[in-house]
């Protein structure tokens, strides 16, 4: 078990293992996202109050969930880099940030589009919306800081520290709707209670969430591979693979 982790920690075995994993991930992503989209847009029932605009949820909720998870993954990669100095953790951090930022932006945009007809406002400065905006700024901060000097280890450490400290924002996002009065509704799902949504609504939602996770991992691994090639282009094995 640990030997697999050790293998994945160095560029070449990671590149070789992910080479076989990537096509499977890509196929699963396409299947889940297309099934989920058709199901959510075409067959899931409308809501008794929101009508058809409830379908925005099938993009909004998965993008918000996966955006927060990608921050978590990014911060863990940052901690691993700070403790063990594994280069691939720095690459993993660098590659997760743009995907997380895009997903956060998607969640904010779909939320605004849903908010206008439902609440009557595109945006309110309530705790949930503001903390999600901060999540977006954290991603942007990580991207900008990491790009200060390509491949530099000192910059990598600074970025990793920022990513780790920014973790504090995640519980704030999660519990904002319980700690304060917000306009954003509280979660429809919890570990202890039944979802406040019928099965014909949450099942396509689960498919979409899985699809978004698969999409994240596909794009993430893909860009980690690209970054490995960029950083290791001088080494023998890379020249050997891409012998033109």
């Amino acid at each position: 078990m640990w030997s697999l982790f050790h293998k994945l920690g160095s560029p070449r075995p990671f590149y070789e293992i992910s080479d076989r994993l990537l096509p499977i991930l890509g196929c699963l992503t396409v299947i889940f996202l297309s099934v989920g989209t058709i199901w959510a847009l075409g067959f899931a029932p409308p809501d008794y109050q929101q009508g058809e605009s409830v379908r925005i949820m099938y993009v909004h909720v998965p993008s918000a969930i996966v955006a927060q998870s990608s921050y978590m993954i990014m911060a863990i990669a940052g901690a691993v880099f700070l403790i063990w100095r594994i280069k691939i953790a720095d690459i993993a951090l660098q590659c997760a940030a743009p995907i997380g930022a895009s997903l956060t932006l998607l969640a904010l945009a779909t939320g605004a589009i849903w908010g206008k007809p439902t609440w009557g406002a595109w945006w309110v400065w309530d705790a949930r919306l503001t903390s999600t905006l901060i999540l977006f700024f954290l991603f942007i901060g990580v991207i900008v800081l990491r790009s200060a000097k390509e491949g530099s280890e000192a910059v990598g450490r600074a970025t990793a520290t920022l990513a780790v400290v920014g973790l504090v924002n995640l519980p704030v996002i999660k519990f904002s709707v319980d700690w304060w009065f917000t306009l954003h509704q509280s979660s429809s799902f919890s570990l202890t209670e039944k979802p406040s949504m019928p099965v014909e609504m949450w099942l396509p939602l689960v498919v979409m969430v899985a699809g978004f996770y698969l999409f994240f991992f596909y794009v993430w691994i893909f860009s980690v591979r690209t970054e490995i090639l960029k950083r290791e282009y001088r080494s023998q094995w890379v020249r050997f693979i891409h012998d033109v």
């Binding site: 008794y48 403790i83 007809p117 973790l167 304060w180 009065f181 429809s188 406040s196 019928p198 609504m201």
Partner: protein, 152 residues
């Protein structure tokens, strides 16, 4: 990867990171606690009634629209309704404008405006608060019928 096998300088790093997280977490936590009043998007009916909410200042107030409390003007957009916390605090909101689609009795609202000396809230904007319950229209019909049955 057990702590025992971790090299001392790496273990030190790990504790440093955990320490950093605890320190930044508690400082953010304390800040948020100090700002609690400001982070709340709106004042609850209890705060409006008890006088905690400032008078003649632009604030937001929220609660549930009381059943059978909506009165609309016949010749303009003026509307008056009572907002309650479902316990014993309630206050009246006056509003002149277009209400959101989701505005209805028993639904949460958040209004922006000011509270006058008589405890009446003059709203400039009314937003509907959606709750976490989702259901298809047919299910809602069935539930409504079930509610209506006993009262017959």
């Amino acid at each position: 990867m057990k702590f025992g096998v971790m090299k001392p300088h790496r273990r030190r790093k790990l504790f440093l990171i955990l320490f950093l997280l605890v320190v930044s977490g508690s400082s953010v936590g304390l800040t948020l606690m100090a700002l609690r009043e400001n982070i709340n998007l709106f004042y609850s009916p209890a705060e409006i009634v008890s006088g905690t909410a400032p008078v003649n200042k632009l604030i937001r107030a929220g609660g549930m629209v009381l059943e059978d409390s909506i009165f609309r003007s016949e010749n303009n957009l003026e509307v008056r309704f009572i907002v309650t916390d479902m316990q014993d605090s309630e206050f009246t909101i006056f509003y002149n404008g277009i209400l959101p689609d989701l505005f209805r009795e028993g639904q949460g609202v958040v209004a922006r405006g000011s509270l006058n000396e008589d405890g009446v809230f003059l709203a400039e904007e009314v937003l509907a608060k959606h709750d976490e319950n989702y259901m298809p229209p047919e299910v809602a019909d069935v539930i409504n019928q079930a509610h209506a049955e006993p009262s017959k």
